[in-house]
Amino acid sequence: MHEFRVTVGPASFRLLSQWARPLDQMRALYADYPTPEIVDYTVRLEATSLLRRFIRPSAAINGDYMLPDAAPLPADQGLLGLEMGMNLQMALGWRRQMILHASAVERDGKALIMTGESGSGKSTLSALLGINGWRFMGDEFALIDPASGEAVPYPRLISLKNEAIAAMQESAQEAKFGPLMKGTPKGDIRHMVPPREAIAKMTERAKPVLLLFPRFGHEGAIRDMPPSETFMRLTQASTNYVALGEAGFEAMTKFVQDVPARAVDYRSGEEAMELVEKLWEELS
């Protein structure tokens, strides 16, 4: 098995693969990240059968934590498989912070958290803000420390989907991109390496001061979100809220009480960024 180790924020991974190529791609994209000695999780990319190692290669995503019914991927989407495997380890295994399915950016030591379903645009929005004066903290998971309430960065590769790919290539011309993977279970996917600053500062935490629920494709609007609804939505958006027990309940309650929340509708990246800047101004 080929091997590559990488640290992303507070978590470290050992990635194993029967094929060299996906790991070579990972190595190139994660070139600026630290290499750990001790890892938290192992992810394995393995052929579904001996035949499928060589002919129409098909890769199962295995590791410390696995989904019993996860569908295998064509081996040339191995990079995506490894990223999915890493997400799965965090979602199912991580207990050191409360995990929110959310993106996060930071300015002046304060964090903006954006949560929403797939397609809400939270990932693209964090990438856009990350090249427009904010520090990118993560596009998939916001880790909230139960003791301090701070957000811990998890700046993995930014996963761009479908229309967002061309848009970001246009906006972030100096950025490093991974291979374009067409026809994945989630459409076209291309990974983007976060800005240098995001990687260099990946251990610097920030206090969340604003929570947004972005929604792409609706006329520009901002609405207040009551704490009760925020609480319910965030319990749904957390992968380990229940498993953390009382600590999770306290972290969530404190978060909802301390951090104002708004729903934001938008039709374009520019519009979203304007709305975000406006809200940020009002609050500070």
Binding site: M1, S12, R14, L16, P36, E37, I38, V39, D40, T42, R44, E46, N62, G63, D64, Y65, G93, W94, R95, R96, V242, A243, L244, G245
Partner: protein, 333 residues
Amino acid sequence: MKDGRLLVTALRDPASTAALDADGWIALLTMARAEQLIGTLAFRLEGQPMPDGIAAIFEDARTNADYQRKTALWEADAARRALASYQGKVVQMKGTAYVAEDLQAGIGRSIGDLDIMVEEDDLREVEKLLLAAGWEWVKEDEYDDAYYRDHMHELPPLIHKTRDRMIDVHHTILPKTAKPTPDAKAMLGNGIIGSDGLAVFTPADMVCHSAAHLFADGDLAGGLRNLWDIYCLLMEFSRGSDSFHAELQSRAQHHQLEPAVSRAIRLTGHLYGDSKAPPNITDRFYIRRLTARNGCGQQTRKFTRFAFYVRSHLLRMPPMMLAKHLWTKWRKG
């Protein structure tokens, strides 16, 4: 050590981990996760010197084990409430019983499904009460359903529709088609009712059941954990009573489980205890199967595992019945 003996040694002798380097620790953790023993190991190694990164992983594992313990007890209580109007005895089995009784085997143990046992004649009533309380059949398939009801020792699995947790309702110890016929009525009848209204087996029967489950049924997948359970039960019960071993021998004979229980005693001694005698030929083969795991978390020794897989089917059914079963399963794809 490139196989599961790395994990076995760490469980047997926690101080031995002082010799591990970073890669040794990673191999140990990966094996422990794959064998569902990470929580057990986390408690077992508490207080041992180890790198910070490893200590943080064990801390996660202890948090998670605590959550699993609470969830298991909650689920057992949910079943108790659902069966409140049922007059018969409800025995909690396996992991849930160990945590309910605060046994050493329950410390850090991973617990998936809830296993309970009730009187065979009362199955319809119990099934009706559980369905009314929100459990539903996992798979609606006539052949599987009929197979379970005609030949197995438990109902087809039920899952709770909002809590997403499975319950296995047993009415006997081994599949009806297996050769030994443990005296399930006696096990149930002697079950000790706790303050919560749910029962557990007597200590000797608990060991008999665990040994039957491990050696007279199934292909030994995940066997290191089940063997650790038995090791803890044997240690704890024999410390608590001088007559435990005699009692265990007599119950094992009564349940026709003498071979399974003897093998369990020998193998716990070889792997987790301080047995100095070399294992006999068949025990060596069992040890090869139990430790078929590498430091990447993969299963190894394909042939040995396949042999135990075939054995598990032969234990369950006579050859003609097996052929018919495999034929039906194959045709259905």
